[in-house]
Amino acid sequence: MENCLKITAAAAIIAIALSLFYHPLCAASSPPRHVDPGEIRDDLPDPLMLASIYAAVANHIARGNLSEALKELSKAGFIYLPRDLAIILEQYNKLLSQGIDRVNFSKASLEKAGKLLLRGMVVDAIRDLEKGLTEILAANISSREAHRNAEEIKRRLGADVGGASRALERIVSETYSEISAEIKRLEDLESVGLESTILTISINVSRAWVGSPVEIVGSLKTSSGDPLEGRRVMIFIGGVNISVNTEVGGYYRLEVSLPTIYIPRISVYAVYMPSKSDELRYRGAVSEELYIELLYIVPDISLSTIPDRVRPGESFVIEGVVDPPGGGVAITFLGRSYGVDLSPTGSFAAKVEVPGDVREGFYAVSVEVYPRGFIGPASASAKIYVYRDPSVIEVKIPRIVIAGLSYEVSGRAATAEGQPLDGGVRIELPWAFMSTASYGGVFRAEISTPIGEATGEKVVRIVFMPSAKIYREAEIEERIFVINPAYVAALLGFAYVTMRISVGSIAITLRNIAALLQRRGGKSSIGEGVEIQAPGDETASGRLIVSDEVVLIFYDLVEAVRRTAGIELLPHMTLREYGLEASKALGGAGQSLLRILKIYEAHLYSPRKTSPAEFKALVEEFLKSLAK
């Protein structure tokens, strides 16, 4: 038992070791679909590509597209570098970003100062410019610092990223000069002392048709009411600006046509910007903002398609009427546009092609009317149904197939009227997809059934895709029965084994009993007058098993003792009891019997076996003495 436990424990340890061992060995790795990101070595970026990203930043800075420059720079944030280099690059990006932000702020302050100046707010403008100047000085520091980082990156990575910092230095320098000059100019103006101006505006209408003339009048005076004559005033009307000069009394008058834009309303206002000698005398002025409601006609569009159903590759006509007629129409269908002129009555018609690869379904045809004069733009759409004619297929396929063998599938493809059709054929088997083609309406393919395919009914789908796009795909489903001989054999084998297990035990024991009876000459040694025939015909195979020969010889001995001395070996008797009783009855021969019984007992119950020949010699010697 101790050995058994030791072996069991050792086996368990080996099993654990094996299971832990073969687990990693069995990992699939070819071809790699990924790598463990924690296990790979850092790879330095391509220096040229790294330089190119900063060259793009420099380009945007040089053009003054600072927001684009920042956007480009944000990409550099995704460049992966080992930690020591990453710190330098991050610092470079940060300094560039700060510098660009500061330049942006300074430029915004310049713009804001300009607007304040228009309203005569010189002091506020100077204050804003001074803030801008502070920022640009800070940007200068950032750009110089960034340049040092760029040098370090070039030294360690070999990538010249300094273009961006050099561009930043240039724009900083330019902006600094610009702001300094503007501050100086405004300080000069402020020291002189400027007088405010008042600009008024009025329009003769509040609603008007697009393109119709309107009259705009107004005046320009100083804050003390002195008219400013001969000054240029700009009128902004719907995004368009027109200049007019003031006349006697500072009044101005302008007759203009409203722009032909088709929006609900437009704004109108006037701006005065002092120029030349006025720059040192007057402040600029902006009038109040007025609005004009625009009037225009939206035309009605009626549309129809002829026919209302069409097949791919064919064409249809779209016709309609625009009331009142606009300036022409544009027809758009599946991404293609067609320009069409309108007749004097507003009617139009156009032929539209349907592409060959369009799927079945409803598609919109949109029509857009161009504006003309009082007639504004309009749009409408119609729907057309794209359809395909049906196609049909017939398939010949074996209903029962054997796994591991190949079979032919054939068929015909045709129109609904029976005209043969060419095209591709896809055969979708449960275990694979196959393709073939139909020529002259006939197709053929060989399908092979995998050897491991399980026995059972399978669905096969055959899809026909006509070459002519006016025909619809056709598909058909067929059922085949796969027989796998290996599966059938396995089932039969299982059935046989089960049958053997269930009937085998009785057959075996019957054979053994038959053997025992045969050894006794077909007669029982037990019971008076009872005879039993050997049931040899009861065995399953008809073969009798010959048991131990020594036992057979022993029963011959027992039978001889019974005949001679009338002593039987009864079922309840041990061999020793039988020996004692028989030896008493046999007298001198009894000792020989006891010796034989001892040998027989040892043969039965101990490893010390006796050979049949040896035992037979002993018994024959005993029988001779018994006969005497």
Partner: protein, 323 residues
């Protein structure tokens, strides 16, 4: 040192049982397997989207989300039919594949889009190595402009009209068509579409040409997890397909064990085993205790005129003799 007969029998059985138990306990190492807790598994994804792993595409509910990640086995026409029905019923199919059998699904569904099969490299905007490029998110709410780290990704080509692009590689990336591991002059330059969404039937197909963005080792990088969360949303049942994953020897053994358990747990198998066990036990009992007596009784049943007592005595003698 002697070895008992019992030890010889028990030791291999113990080894076998131990192997079976450990094989069953140790997690699988199959790429993209939701039960794989290693770096290349999907256990993290499955946990955070509360996805159910399925071994049959037919197990999905209507209007749910089915994620097919890194398929390696072929799709049968029956499976394509199931996917079509799933999409027509309003389901969302998220197909994540690079070099596997994902194109069979796209072809089967009648889509024009295909996964190119070559690797996207990015010598500049990448994580640690050019094979792990950075991609930029578009068209996913609250995530636009954020980034995803790819891992041996491919590109989507021939997108169908009406497709919505969700993820693109950087302009510095290239598609390694010649397979030399670098961006040569012949290799086309990015950006390439890495993820896109297509309406189909009543549902949608989301194609992602890199399944590895979802493996455990990649989920924590950049916005990979947020991107997948953005694709899936919340409140919809999610399924992850296992039936098309590749096999390893280990996984095959596990699968075989699993199938054996499945077969054994069927009613037919249970009854068969019970009957066989009963027969074996009965046979052992007969052979060790009263097999000859039973045999004698069987003889009596066939020959009622024979003396039962004598036959039983004979059987007992035979039993003694056999011992």
């Amino acid at each position: 040192m002697g070895i008992s007969r019992l030890g010889i029998i028990v030791a291999p059985i113990t080894s076998l049982l131990t192997l079976i138990v450990f094989t069953y306990i140790i997690p699988t190492n199959v790429d993209f397997d939701p039960y794989n807790t290693g770096w290349n598994g999907l256990s993290e994804l499955a946990n955070f989207v509360k996805a159910a792993a399925i071994d049959d595409l037919g197990e999905t509910q209507p209007q749910s989300i089915l994620i097919v990640v890194g398929p390696s086995k072929h799709f049968s026409s029956d499976e394509i039919r199931i996917l079509r029905g799933f999409l027509e019923g309003g389901g969302i199919l998220i197909l994540m594949d690079d070099f596997g059998t994902g194109n069979e699904v796209l072809e089967g569904l009648g889509l024009r889009a295909r996964i190119n099969g070559s690797i996207i490299l990015d010598p500049l905007l990448r994580y640690r190595d050019r094979h792990l490029p950075i991609a930029f998110i578009e068209g996913v709410r609250n995530l636009n402009g954020r980034t995803v780290v790819l891992n041996y990704a491919s590109a989507i080509q021939d997108l169908d009209p009406g497709a919505r692009i969700l993820l693109t590689s950087s302009p510095y990336s290239c598609l390694d068509l010649d397979g030399d591991g670098s961006c040569s002059d012949r290799d086309p330059r990015g950006p390439f579409v890495v993820a896109a969404e297509l309406p189909l039937g009543g549902g949608r197909v989301v194609i992602v040409s890199d399944p590895s963005i979802a493996i455990n080792a990649m989920m924590s990088l950049e916005d990979n997890k947020a991107f997948i969360e953005g694709l899936i949303g919340s409140g919809t049942p999610v399924y992850v397909d296992r039936s098309h994953l590749g096999d390893t020897l280990f996984s095959l053994i596990k699968l075989t064990l699993y199938r054996v358990f499945v077969v054994l747990s069927s009613a037919e198998a249970k009854y068969s085993i019970a009957i066989i066990l009963a027969m074996i036990i009965a046979r052992i009992k007969v052979s060790t205790t009263s097999s000859y007596r039973t045999a004698a009784e069987a003889v009596i049943r066939r020959h009622p005129t024979w003396d039962k007592r004598v036959l039983i005595k004979l059987a007992e003698e035979l039993e003694i003799e056999q011992r």
